[in-house]
């Protein structure tokens, strides 16, 4: 949508367009032009530490705040509450909405309360598919549950997706909504030499050939969502999915212990 600049003759108008500042890469270790053949500071199958805390938004039924690397996502759950339409629905409805803060990415996003941006909706659909198989919607006829996610800092759309899924599931548990299991999510990337690196940063993603996100319920051994982009052979895809599923059980322990800690603190 083109932005129409309204000129106000009584004031000094600023420039029409704005550009983000360009930082020199000299002081950062390993400039983006060189492709990293070896992973710095982590083993290929290691993920970054997760910080998860629930119950920070008091007026919501449940909430969770998660940080992985530089991605920060906050999730609030409202529900179950009466659905707006009068038509009868046997199962409850789960609505997931994602909003990026204007300062979340490198380039500023224009804040617009009514329009859901392109990126927002695809992330919302991904997170919705990841958590909807775990929620017992048949226990909430005629009701709806709203999951609102706000991305405060975006360190790669992959990590926002995985962090968002984990936050949404933790927030639903915090709200006391009946679920079949906790959903956790892990992302992996296939580098140009065929190696699989889990939980890639934005810079590592730039040099990868493909990326894959897997969401599952480790308690039941079932997956709820798999999404892959890029170019892989079927064998690499299977290897990546298996690596992600293994790591998911570790993430599940982190989430479960965070929930337990917050519950016992009450």
């Amino acid at each position: 949508m083109a932005q129409i600049t309204s000129f106000d003759r009584r004031r000094v108008n600023g420039p029409d367009d704005s550009f983000p500042p360009i930082f020199s890469d000299e002081d950062q270790p390993g400039s983006s032009s060189s492709s990293p053949l070896q992973r710095e500071s982590r083993k290929p199958k290691d993920i970054r530490p997760i910080f998860l805390q629930t119950g920070l938004i008091t007026q919501a039924n449940g909430s969770a705040y998660i940080e992985t690397g530089n991605s920060k996502v906050v999730c609030a759950v409202y529900g179950p509450r009466q659905a707006k339409n009068t038509s009868y629905s046997e199962k409850g409805k789960l609505n997931v909405e994602v909003k990026f803060a204007p300062f979340a990415s490198q380039r500023r996003k224009v804040p617009n309360r009514y329009l859901q941006d392109a990126e927002d909706r695809s992330l919302a659909v991904l997170i919705h598919q990841a958590i909807v198989p775990s929620v017992r919607l048949e226990l909430f006829p005629k009701s709806s549950m709203d999951v609102f996610l706000t991305v405060i800092e975006n360190d790669g759309i992959q990590s926002c997706g995985t962090a968002g899924t984990i936050a949404a599931s933790a927030a639903l548990a915090d709200a006391g909504i009946e679920m079949l299991g906790l959903v956790v999510s892990c992302a992996g990337s296939v580098m140009s030499n065929g190696e699989i690196w889990l939980d890639p940063t934005t810079r590592e993603l730039e040099h990868s050939r493909a990326s894959l996100t897997l969401s599952c319920m480790p308690a039941l051994g079932l997956i709820t969502n798999v999404s892959q982009t890029g170019q892989v052979t079927p064998q690499e895809a299977i290897q990546c999915m298996d690596a992600c599923e293994e790591r998911c059980s570790d993430i599940h322990m982190v989430v479960a212990s965070a929930l337990h800690k917050n519950q016992s603190a009450l």
Binding site: A2, F19, A118, R121, S122, V125, Q129, P133, S134, L180, R209, L212, L214, C216, M217, L220, G221, L222, I223, T224, N225, V226, S227, Q228, T229, G230, Q231, V232, T233, P234, A237, I238, M241, D242, E245
Partner: protein, 294 residues
């Protein structure tokens, strides 16, 4: 489309019975007859129309020149592919406009995720090196939906891209008056490429096809129900399925030999064990060989 529980149960029972029964007598891995025509819209650079058992998708491909100083600062010197899908109200008479927008957007995202991969970008999209390149706009119109829409959509896009001809261009160089002796430091023309502009060659020539058109992918939607999987589901059958697993495959050359590469995986539906994904992948490859001939 809303169906009753008894209809869904009836369809599901037919699918898992031995031998499997489908309402039109197909086997589980059969596609409905596919009708494809290319070059249907001569004013577009490439076009195709694919109809498969009630689902119809029309795709038009237009090539547009993209230059360095464009508004959204997204110029790429090697060209790019932009995809857009529009679901027409005639295909979905019961949908409200916002629901139609959401459906169009979701399909566009699936298409864009696959075609934005730099590995799929044709190599002959450069016009003036570093300054101008072609942007391929893929516009798909869903005119009817009888089930299995994603497969038909990807087939139509592949056919339209196969059919697409990029106009041939010729670079023009502006030569300044020759200087005797030394060149002054103010002469900056030599710093960038010599070509400053382009012109389109005589339009009676068709232009050239896209460089790696045999690598453009197609989608296979596997509908999963307990331990079986079936292809090309009608609306009723997809309601009876527990989940859908979509693989997007491409071959590296047109001979269909060698192993296909996966360009995308998507999943919709209920939870299932991971090993199901592993077992269903080879089926997708076999089906690809069947469809690859198109």
């Amino acid at each position: 489309m809303s169906t009753s529980k008894s209809e869904q149960s009836y369809t599901a029972q037919g699918l898992i019975s031995n031998p499997p029964l489908r309402s039109d007598g197909r086997s589980l891995l059969d596609y409905r007859p596919i009708c494809m025509s290319t070059g249907v819209y001569p004013q577009a650079n490439g076009s195709a129309k694919v109809e498969c058992g009630g689902s119809e998708v029309v795709v038009g491909v237009m090539c547009e020149i993209d230059h360095e100083g464009n508004e959204d600062h997204s110029f790429s010197a090697n060209g790019r592919i932009k995809c857009n899908v529009l679901c027409t109200p005639s295909a979905y008479p019961a949908h409200s406009p916002p629901a139609l927008d959401d459906l169009s957007y979701d399909l566009s995202v699936i298409l864009s995720d696959v075609y934005s991969d730099p590995g799929l970008l044709p190599s002959n999209l450069v016009v003036v090196p570093g300054r101008k390149s072609w942007t391929i706009h893929i516009d798909a119109l869903v005119t009817a939906d009888g089930g299995n829409l994603l497969d038909v959509l990807f087939l139509a896009v592949r056919a339209a891209l196969w059919n697409c001809r990029v106009p041939s261009t010729k670079n023009i160089e502006y030569k300044g008056s020759s200087q005797l002796g030394n060149e002054s430091a103010f002469v900056t023309q030599h710093r960038t490429s010599h070509a400053a502009d382009f012109e389109i060659k005589d339009f009676w020539e068709d232009g050239e096809s896209l460089a790696n058109r045999e690598t453009f992918p197609i989608a296979i939607t596997l509908n999963l129900l307990s331990s079986i999987h079936f292809l090309d589901a009608t609306h009723l059958e997809s309601m009876a399925a527990q989940s859908r697993l979509i693989f997007i495959y491409s071959f590296s050359q047109s001979t269909l030999e060698g192993n296909p590469t996966i360009r995308g995986i998507k999943y919709f539906g209920e939870a299932m064990p991971l090993k199901n994904v592993h077992t269903h992948m080879p089926v997708g490859q076999q089906t690809l060989l069947v469809l690859g001939g198109h």
